[in-house]
Symmetry: C2
Subunit: 349 residues, 2 copies
Amino acid sequence: MSVITVIGSGQMGSSLSIPLLDNGHEVRLVGSPLDGEIIDGLRENNHHKTLMRDLPKTDKLKFYKIEELDHALPGTDLVVCGVSSFGVDWFGKEILPKIPKDIEILSVTKGMINEDDGNLTVYPDYWKREYDNDRDIYAIGGPCTARGLTDKEETFVAFCGVDVEKLKWIKSIFETPYYIINLTTDVVGLEAAVALKNGYALATAIGMGMAEKRDDGIKFINGISTLFQQSTKEMFELLEFMNCDLKNIMYAVGDLYVTVQAGRSRTVGLLLGKGLSIEEVKKELKGETLEAIVIATRTADAVRKLSKKNILDQKDFPLLMHVDELLNKDAKLNVPWKDFEIIDDYKNK
Amino acid sequence: MSVITVIGSGQMGSSLSIPLLDNGHEVRLVGSPLDGEIIDGLRENNHHKTLMRDLPKTDKLKFYKIEELDHALPGTDLVVCGVSSFGVDWFGKEILPKIPKDIEILSVTKGMINEDDGNLTVYPDYWKREYDNDRDIYAIGGPCTARGLTDKEETFVAFCGVDVEKLKWIKSIFETPYYIINLTTDVVGLEAAVALKNGYALATAIGMGMAEKRDDGIKFINGISTLFQQSTKEMFELLEFMNCDLKNIMYAVGDLYVTVQAGRSRTVGLLLGKGLSIEEVKKELKGETLEAIVIATRTADAVRKLSKKNILDQKDFPLLMHVDELLNKDAKLNVPWKDFEIIDDYKNK
């Protein structure tokens, strides 16, 4: 049995303790600087405040505040990075230097950095470049609600990293009958797929908001599907541009499906679809981390820069561009339906 | 303005009259031999019985029974084939010979034929081979509920066919602000994508049935997403095998999304997921056309034959194989979750 230290005790990081405990491992759950109250609650009665679930009462699950990290790390076999995308630099600057080089790190943080030249960099590559040139970080992607995993629903994710043998070892630590794990060495492919879907979940949920706003009894299933399909098309072309194995579209789509069912990315889109401005949405969701806004903005920024350089054409991403206008240019909701139309003369290509 | 004769007055064929009438065309809606009652109802008060909508009362919309086809065809500019997959041979044998060679045909029928050698043939190619070697048939694919189109929801489909100029002409007849139409010359790609999704909608809906059956309050969002993701993966690999433009996965996924929201394919999966046997499902849905069963069975048959010839490996299609066992081998529900796991060593390929 191994010792796994999870840094970041938000919903996702905490839920990973469930398969780990089922496999008999020791889990040390370390709250980030933002997680103090969560750790207090867990210490009191094992109840996780935001996950809204009780974690198992067992000696094998231990809770730490960030100040106690030095007590959590000794003897650790694997570190899980469970911070949100807003903690990426904190993790790189404050935590990475404290983790011995021979301990592998598995990140569950989803997102990408938009570079000045228009390129998008996934977090494992960003950490490596900015904070620790010698370290290859492993990562998790795929459709997973933290509550579903905590409830031991069948959950289908992928782990990515450069070394397939190390991936197999990490998988052996986590895999249970309900936690289904693919392995891939296409780090950019998986990480880009599951980062992109956050922005597109927001985009698809706009249709759900438009449906809720209607009072004519129309379900708007065709309309929502139109946005789901266009999201898939735009994500596919971004993965193609990033030179990824195109089969990674499965994770983008699976994760898009789960993300439009529930959660914050959905809520942002839903409220925009009902006609709220982004300022009103932010007011309504005060205090919530809105990763979908960050990734949609960054992706749109990248597409715009690449379009200026004639590497991509922003006309191929009308949904993303409109979302960006809603988020950052105070535009009124006006989905550019007809701009989705393309002519694909495959036979004569 | 043009004259469009729609053969088959089921829900989908009838709903196409809405954009056509909006564009000022004359629509002649001809019931198939199974549609007698629908035509009676439409003639009485323009109410479509199964679509559960009133069609517009206008001189430009005319209703015919199949015996009156000879009155419907003269002056027709375009024929729409709106029969279900069970009418494919009837259309080829009885109707095709009556349609002058210079009149284009646009089919909305979704499905494929499984050949003895394991190959899958889309209907436009099947009609050409079996019934009219000189005729290239055009077709519609993509996410569209007939009710949504009738209600003029934004609806995003694709038209496919060999000649891009003819496609543009057909599009000009149908396109409205709410009917969004891509064009593609990849006939096999589009038609295979939207045929495959019927079987996989059944497969994904199994998770929805499992969710409904639970009484522990668990939503099973992760589980349903697992099936959606695995469906995407298996469809992607089938499109790859069929040598299609892989971007067609957008239509497979968009149409999968719409199909798991409502309709018969969903219901079959839902009931199987609740634990009913296929015989019980068929009893419950008596009289309904169950295209999802046909396409899932045909696709599984093809995969099995191709696996025997080492062209494909049926182990790559565990979800399809289990669905086939449920449908045709009286198997008990036992989703092979762990068989979904793959190792994708992209970097070392």
